[in-house]
């Protein structure tokens, strides 16, 4: 497949070269029409055409830079630049693309690693053209490691390493202090209340699909909640807005009921697909809240504008509500309308917290190392930038720049 494409491309280039140099091109004739002497225009060519291999790629990109034609001064004389390319062993250049006047850069993403190429840039005006000198040859290479991301790699390694370290440390049995999260402390009480009142529990794992980590967090908490629900023999309803989430919710519920020794109490319809459409889903869940009057509602996952509509409807029937999301814009709504709110990272910590398992709790401790790093970097960055700019200390500014580059992603 790859070879055939190369052959087709090769044939295409040869045809284009023949077409271009034979002067048959109707659009851009290189040789001006002698009868149309008023339109003759021979632009001065671009200079210093330099082709360089793009770094940290798979060898499929060459960057081309040139100094524009002196005639390219924005008066519309130069219409465009044509980019021509040839393999080292070929005799003719083939047209590969064209760019608008005023441009001095081109990114060729159609090269192959290991081949040697030469480029020419042709300035085109109405009726004439000015070709540059060929660029020095360039051979694009593939790099196996992207060192430009080494800062991300080091920071990632530090954070991941500390998480894994604390997981290992927790396994050794050393007790870890984890602060209390009120919303999660209330889970048992909330489920107990529903049991006492004989009313169902409504669990909404957000409105996003399984490729959103918030949905996964929502489902992991569902696993813990469902286990308690199964123990108490309370009814639970999980309306979802994505088909895959429905399947995953069912599996989670089923396993929780089995772990509780109540497989008979599990019913597939506990997790029910509603619709992908955001507000259609909200209308259906609001209807459920009003009709079935659940005693407890959980809104844990990815939420958007529907957060307040759901939470206020739950509030209007007097349900105990636990909300949580990693969408900062929706947090105020949950805080206003829910009894307990899991703020951002607490949503991801919830499952580990509820499990009480040392290894999971250890991962939360590892997270704190990342936070300490972030805090140190923020304070240092703020101080060095302020001092560097206010008193013009070059050394301090250099430290600020270094910190800045450490956390830059591109």
């Amino acid at each position: 497949m790859r070879n055939s494409r190369v052959k087709v491309n090769g044939l295409f280039f040869v045809l284009i070269s023949v077409f271009f140099y034979s002067g048959l091109s109707a659009e851009e004739p290189l040789i001006p029409n002698p009868e149309d002497t008023t339109k003759i225009c021979i632009p001065r060519p671009p200079t210093n055409v330099l082709a360089t291999d793009a770094v940290y790629d798979k060898g499929n990109v060459v960057n081309l830079n040139w100094v524009p034609s002196p005639d390219d001064n924005g008066d519309g004389k130069i219409l465009q630049y044509q980019i021509l390319r040839r393999l080292e062993n070929d005799s003719v250049f083939a047209l590969i693309d064209s760019v608008i006047a005023g441009t001095a850069f081109y990114k060729d993403e159609t090269v192959e690693s290991g081949q040697t190429y030469q480029y020419m840039v042709v300035a085109i005006c109405d009726g004439g053209s000015g070709p540059s000198e060929p660029s020095p040859p360039v051979t694009p290479d593939m790099e196996w490691l992207n060192f430009a991301l080494s800062n991300i790699f080091v920071i990632g390694l530090l954070i991941c390493g500390s998480v894994i370290y604390f997981i290992g440390k927790a396994k050794s049995g050393r007790p870890l202090f984890i602060r209390k999260i009120a919303g999660l402390e209330a889970v048992d009480e909330a489920i107990g209340r529903a049991t006492e009142m004989g009313r169902p529990i409504l669990y909404v794992p957000g409105i996003q699909d399984m490729d959103d980590v918030q949905t996964i967090a929502g489902l992991t908490i569902l696993g813990r909640v469902a286990r308690v629900v199964a123990d108490y023999d309370t009814k639970i309803k999980v309306p979802v807005s994505r088909s895959l989430v429905m399947t995953a919710s069912r599996e989670t519920l089923k396993a929780a009921y089995m772990a509780a020794g109540r497989p008979d109490a599990f019913n597939e319809n506990m997790a029910q697909y509603i619709t992908d459409e955001q507000f259609g889903y909200v209308a259906a869940v609001d209807g459920m809240i009003i009709r079935e009057r659940p005693a407890t509602t959980f809104f844990l996952g990815a939420f958007f504008a529907e957060s307040l509509i759901l939470a206020e409807t739950g509030n209007s029937i007097g349900a105990i509500q636990i909300g949580g999301t990693a969408n900062p814009a929706q947090l105020p709504f949950f805080v206003a309308a829910c009894d307990f709110t899991l703020i951002g990272e607490e949503l991801f910590a919830a499952s580990a917290y509820l499990s009480g398992e040392p290894r999971q709790l250890g991962s939360l401790k590892g997270q704190d190392v990342g936070k300490a790093l972030a805090m140190i970097a923020i304070v240092l960055g703020a101080i060095t930038t302020t001092i560097g700019q206010a008193w013009n200390f070059e050394f301090i500014s250099a430290i600020a720049d270094l910190l800045n580059s450490l956390f830059r992603t591109n």
Partner: protein, 224 residues
């Protein structure tokens, strides 16, 4: 074994995708796996659609409580599906775009879906009011600061904000309510949001490691 296979797949693919970020020849793996997910999600539609029909047809058949809602759901589902699938009333026929101007699908969308969706969204205006009435009370120092902030933002988003404070001289223009509202959004609010975002980022890393290492498996239904 039933749990181990998914865990091995999760670990292998997860680790591969993390590593691929740093290895240029493997960068496109991310795209490829995203496409795989989309393909799976498309097939999953049949599961969702099937479940919807099964639940609501069951309610209709048994004339269970609130079966009228199920009737509306099934009728809406069938209508949009048939009109969209067979492109009924489409001026360009079966080959034209489903949303071609004048098509029945587009009309149903424009005259039924759009107003219904907007109506649901508009409920926010009512709920924001009732939630604000309940939540913004000067119960303590923090709540009072929040209350004052909310007042400034609300006023700053209306032309009255400028009307009330336009007399403030240019040198002190930061004290004009709209500018004060922008400062609150760009300063204290932004600082808070960034702190929450950093926490979220770290939370995601920690949770991802737990999932990749198979320590967190309740999403697969494993309790212990």
């Amino acid at each position: 074994m039933r749990r181990q296979v998914p865990l091995i797949i999760t670990f292998f693919i997860g680790a591969l995708l993390v590593i691929s970020v740093f290895i240029p020849p493997m960068v496109s793996l991310k795209e490829t796996f995203t496409l795989y997910f989309d393909i799976i999600a498309v097939f999953a539609f049949f599961l969702g659609g099937g479940n919807l029909l099964r639940v609501h047809l069951g309610k209709l058949y048994g004339k269970k409580q609130d079966w009228g809602f199920s009737l509306v759901t099934v009728a809406g589902f069938a209508m949009m599906l048939i009109v969209g699938l067979f492109k009924i009333g489409n001026p360009g026929g079966i080959a034209a775009s489903i949303t071609a101007e004048g098509s029945l699908f587009q009309k149903l969308f424009e005259y039924i879906m759009v107003p219904l969706g907007s109506t649901m969204y508009a409920l926010l205006a009512f709920f924001v009011a009732s939630a604000s009435y309940r939540a913004f009370r000067a119960k303590n120092r923090e709540a009072t600061i929040l209350l004052i902030g909310a007042f400034i933002i609300l006023l700053g988003r209306t032309p009255f904000g400028m009307m009330l404070t336009s007399w403030i001289p240019e040198q002190l223009s930061i004290l004009q309510i709209p500018n004060l509202a922008i400062w609150i959004m760009n300063g204290p609010n932004l600082a808070g949001q960034r702190a929450i975002m950093i926490g979220i980022g770290l939370g995601v890393v920690s949770m991802s490691i737990r999932i990749l290492l198979g320590i967190e498996r309740s999403y697969l239904g494993e309790d212990k």
